[in-house]
């Protein structure tokens, strides 16, 4: 009896969790209901819409009425110069404003295009989009949390850690001792530690915020290729700047490689040189793909309900517990992935720094 009750409660809770597991799944329900009247439910398009960036922060759609937070649009056009306005001027992408509109079709779909005499052009878009807003929000959160922790450390240097400080200290120590110290080495790790710590907490916090469905969270920050690209670029630049003679020797004239692989055709140097660029690209793609995949799977499980409901509403109800169970499972897995991906990105960055600064006897 107890077990049955427990299951019921767990099931009810799970519905609540799932109904908000990604960006704005609650609106998904209403959207889908609305759309199912007019057109067929297109899961692919729908899932993409929840993963991609947008110029406004969609909260919920009630009937035909969209509720969303308008975000600032910043544009530079060669034709007409700078433009600043709120995204609410587009009326959820339905109208144009000052020759600007959000393209709904074609190669520029989702982007702001400008209608000029010469035809449609794409202006430089520096808008504070959903992702950018989330970056600002999480940056502020990171600053607030860690500066307040730092203040506590300074205020009570000899007392035991407390609260948030004691929750985050193990991670700081883990990054210092098990990532930085063990891969870069006792002598040089301190120089890279601030970057590694910032990287780890930025990725982790944004991964977690991406799993929160309601307003400040829910944007797909770490599943945006530009965001992961910038972090990979930092790793690449730091690696290349701090690279020593030994690192370059490994690339251009690796010792222990047969000479015919280097001359007359420099096969190995070419591969090594390519590897230099492939490493950060892989970093960028790994984080991006992992986060996008996680979100897609959860959205796919939710979409299943509506796909089945199109055949028969009863079938839709029948599938929903199963969908909910799988979504919860994926949600739990995503919590783990959020931490693991932050760890992997940080660890690999540290390993690249270690390789770039290793002395000869330390390598191989």
């Amino acid at each position: 009896m107890k077990r049955v009750l427990f299951f019921c409660v767990a099931f009810l809770l799970s519905i609540q969790v799932v109904s908000g597991i990604d960006t704005d799944t609650s609106s998904l329900v209403t959207d889908t209901l609305r759309e199912s009247h007019a057109e067929k439910f297109a899961p692919g398009e729908f899932m993409l819409e929840h993963i991609l960036d947008s110029h406004e922060w969609h909260i919920i759609t009630l009937g035909d009425h969209h509720i969303s937070i308008p975000l600032p649009v910043i544009l530079y056009s060669k034709e007409s110069g700078w433009h600043f306005f709120m995204s609410s001027k587009f009326h959820h992408g339905q109208t144009s404003y000052k020759n600007f509109r959000i393209a709904t079709e074609g190669p520029n779909k989702g982007k702001i295009v400008e209608q000029t005499a010469a035809g449609e052009i794409v202006p430089l878009d520096l808008s504070i989009t959903k992702v950018v807003f989330s970056i600002i929000f999480s940056s502020a959160l990171l600053l607030w949390i860690f500066i307040s922790i730092a203040r506590r450390y300074q205020k009570y240097p000899h007392s035991a850690p407390k609260g948030l400080q004691s929750a985050l200290e193990p991670f700081i120590l883990f990054i210092r001792d098990d990532i930085a110290k063990s891969t870069i080495g006792e002598k040089r790790y301190e120089k890279y530690l601030p970057y590694l710590l910032t990287l780890f907490f930025f990725i982790w916090f944004n991964n977690m915020l991406g799993l929160i469905p309601i307003f400040p969270g829910g944007a797909n920050v770490t599943g945006n290729i530009a965001v992961t690209g910038v972090m990979a670029l930092f790793t690449f630049v730091i690696t290349t700047i701090s690279a020593n003679k030994h690192y370059w020797q490994e690339i251009y004239n690796a010792p222990g490689v047969p000479w015919w692989l280097k001359f007359p055709i420099p096969l190995m140097p070419m591969i090594e040189l390519l590897g230099m660029f492939i490493k950060p690209v892989v970093l960028m793609v790994r984080l991006f793909a992992n986060i996008v995949a996680g979100h897609l799977i959860i959205l796919a499980f939710v979409s299943l309900i509506f796909i089945f409901a199109e055949f028969n509403p009863i079938l839709g109800y029948a599938v929903s517990p199963l969908s909910a169970a799988f979504s919860i499972f994926m949600g739990m897995l995503e919590l783990l992935v959020a931490l693991i991906q932050a760890y992997v990105f940080t660890l690999l960055s540290a390993i690249y720094f270690g390789l770039a600064t290793a002395e000869h006897h330390e390598g191989h």
Binding site: V132, A150, Y153, P194, Y195, M231, V292
Partner: protein
């Protein structure tokens, strides 16, 4: 395609904000945090070391104390033993002395008794002589009738006296 094409605006803002938080956190968060973590570790290590040193010191002190105690115990035992010996010696000496003294007193007593006895005997002898003379006087005074009888008597008395 839009999913895998980096947006210029996002790139720009990300670059800006990531650099900003990197710099700010480095200066205002990581530096003090790592610094105080290091200090704390150092102070813990020092505390552990000093505790170890104190422990060693304690052990050393304890060993010292025990040594001193053992020495004191030995000293005490020796003193007690010596005292006992001294006591016994004193007692035996005293006894010896007392015995000698007693012997000497007894000897003296014996000598004086002997002399006293001689004196007494001499006194008695004198007294007897005097008595004899008195008796003789009396006898002479009363019965100087017969010489024979007198002689007999004198002989008899003399014999008796000799016996004494």
């Amino acid at each position: 395609m839009e999913l895998v094409t980096p947006n210029v605006g996002t790139l720009f803002w990300m670059l800006l904000f990531f650099s900003l938080i990197l710099l700010i956190l480095k200066k205002f968060a990581w530096k003090p945090i790592l610094h105080s973590l290091k200090n704390r570790e150092k102070s813990i290590e020092e505390a552990l070391q000093s505790a170890e040193r104190a422990k060693e010191e304690m052990a050393r002190l304890k060993a010292d104390n025990e040594k001193i105690l053992a020495e004191a115990r030995l000293e005490r035992d020796k003193m007690i033993r010596e005292a006992r010996e001294t006591r016994e010696k004193l007692i035996s000496e005293a006894q010896e002395k007392a015995k000698e003294e007693a012997k000497r007193i007894i000897d003296q007593a014996k000598v004086s008794i002997e002399t006293e006895k001689q004196n007494a005997i001499n006194e008695i002898k004198l007294q007897i002589a005097l008595l004899s003379v008195q008796m003789a006087e009396k006898i002479i005074a009363e019965k100087i009738n017969t010489t024979d009888k007198q002689n007999e008597l004198i002989d008899k008395y003399l014999k008796d006296m000799k016996l004494n």
